[in-house]
């Protein structure tokens, strides 16, 4: 055991250095839990995290609807919505769609008039919409419903796919009343989860 009296201390400053070396330094090292010359220490830290419900999606920037060989049939196209979701044990979630910008220029199809319809297929987490949905410029229409305790990826109680996806099969009638030309509209998707 080392005491201050065991060591020579010619002056006041030397005594301060010994105090620093043999008393304060080990204490500081122990507190910092870092390696120090000739010192060891252990510390326990409790880590905690609050996992919240979360949901995000991704859609292609553009989709071209094409018409078949039959005259005045239907323009068709598909949109694959990719999504990642985590819902709570008492929550759930949904994906909806809304026409945020109707077809332009004028003279062609109009989503406001009910020209854009879709069905949902291939959902690998949650349940895709049932039947034929008519996209609206004023209302959000269903695409997918997420159940409670849903989670993307990892397998087990979660889905094995990451990301998950659901496909929208879009249809626009090729009415003879439309003027010839190119038309475009924007379809906005929203995902939410609790």
């Amino acid at each position: 055991m080392i005491t201050f009296t065991d060591l020579e201390c010619p002056d006041y400053q030397c005594k301060d250095r010994r105090l620093m070396r043999y008393v304060l330094l080990p204490i500081v090292c122990a507190l910092l839990v870092r390696e120090c010359p000739g010192q060891t220490g252990t510390a326990t830290q409790t880590l905690s995290a609050q996992i919240y419900a979360a949901a995000k999606l991704s859609v292609p920037a553009s989709v071209t609807l094409t018409v078949g060989a039959t005259k005045f049939s239907t323009f068709q196209g598909t949109v694959t919505v990719s999504y990642r979701a985590r819902t709570t044990s008492t929550g759930g979630g949904s994906i909806t769609a809304q026409v945020s910008s109707d077809f332009t220029p004028a003279g062609g199809p109009s989503a406001a008039a009910g020209a854009l319809t879709y069905t949902c297929s291939g959902a690998n987490l949650g349940t895709g919409c049932s039947g034929t949905q008519t996209a609206s410029t004023t209302l959000q229409t269903p695409v997918l419903t997420l159940p409670a305790s849903a989670c993307t990826g990892g397998g087990g109680s979660c889905s094995s796919q990451d990301p998950n996806s659901v496909t929208l099969n879009l249809s626009v009638p090729d009415n003879s009343t439309y003027s010839t030309g190119s038309y475009s509209a924007n379809l906005k998707f929203v995902i939410s989860g609790t």
Partner: protein, 180 residues
């Protein structure tokens, strides 16, 4: 000796790669839907078999009417359209009327036209032919029929030549609609 890439360059490259490797996930996403509406046309013959009959006056011409429904969309700026007909199979069996080789001069299968807008009916009485298509209706630019289609008809007139042998005779007339 090669100089190492500046740190900022590496950072930019990594950011670019990260951006291309993964789609952007957000709580909302927007897709632009696009389609091209082209000129097109179709028709349906509503009178599958048109019977030409003569009622009343002896040796009166045979007459009948063929109804049809058409859909059309012509080009907005400089499009046009047409309906034509052609006798694709002459009357048979032999011994009766004939469009291609009538037994008497002046024998003919003629027709008049009627059509609802946006079509314009043929003018007057036209003679059907086995050799070439003849007009039934024409359409101008940006012609658009109703969603369910519009209607038209062709009124037939066939000479009742005493030279025809008695019996039943059949011919086939093909209607064609086009749009640009």
């Amino acid at each position: 000796m090669k100089r190492p890439l500046p740190l900022i360059t590496l950072a930019v490259v990594m950011l670019v790669l990260a951006g291309t490797a993964h789609a952007q996930f957000n709580t909302t996403g927007t897709t632009t839907l696009s389609l091209t509406v082209a000129a097109e046309a179709s028709l349906r013959i509503d009178t599958a078999t048109t019977t030409l009959g003569n009622i009343g006056t002896i040796f009166a011409d045979y007459t009948g009417t063929t109804n049809y429904t058409y859909k059309i969309r012509t080009g907005k700026a400089s499009g046009s359209g047409a309906i034509t007909l052609k006798v694709t199979s002459d009357f048979g069996p032999a011994g009766g009327p004939s469009v291609g080789t009538p037994p008497s001069t002046g024998d003919a299968l003629t027709y008049t036209c009627s059509i609802t807008s946006p079509g314009t009916a043929c003018t007057g009485s036209l003679t059907a032919s086995t050799g070439s298509s003849t007009s039934v209706s024409t359409f101008g630019a940006d012609a658009k029929s109703a969603v369910g289609g519009n209607t038209g008809s062709v009124g037939w007139n066939l000479t009742n030549d005493p030279q025809y042998s008695t019996g039943a005779y059949t011919a086939v007339v093909t209607f064609t609609i086009s749009a640009t």
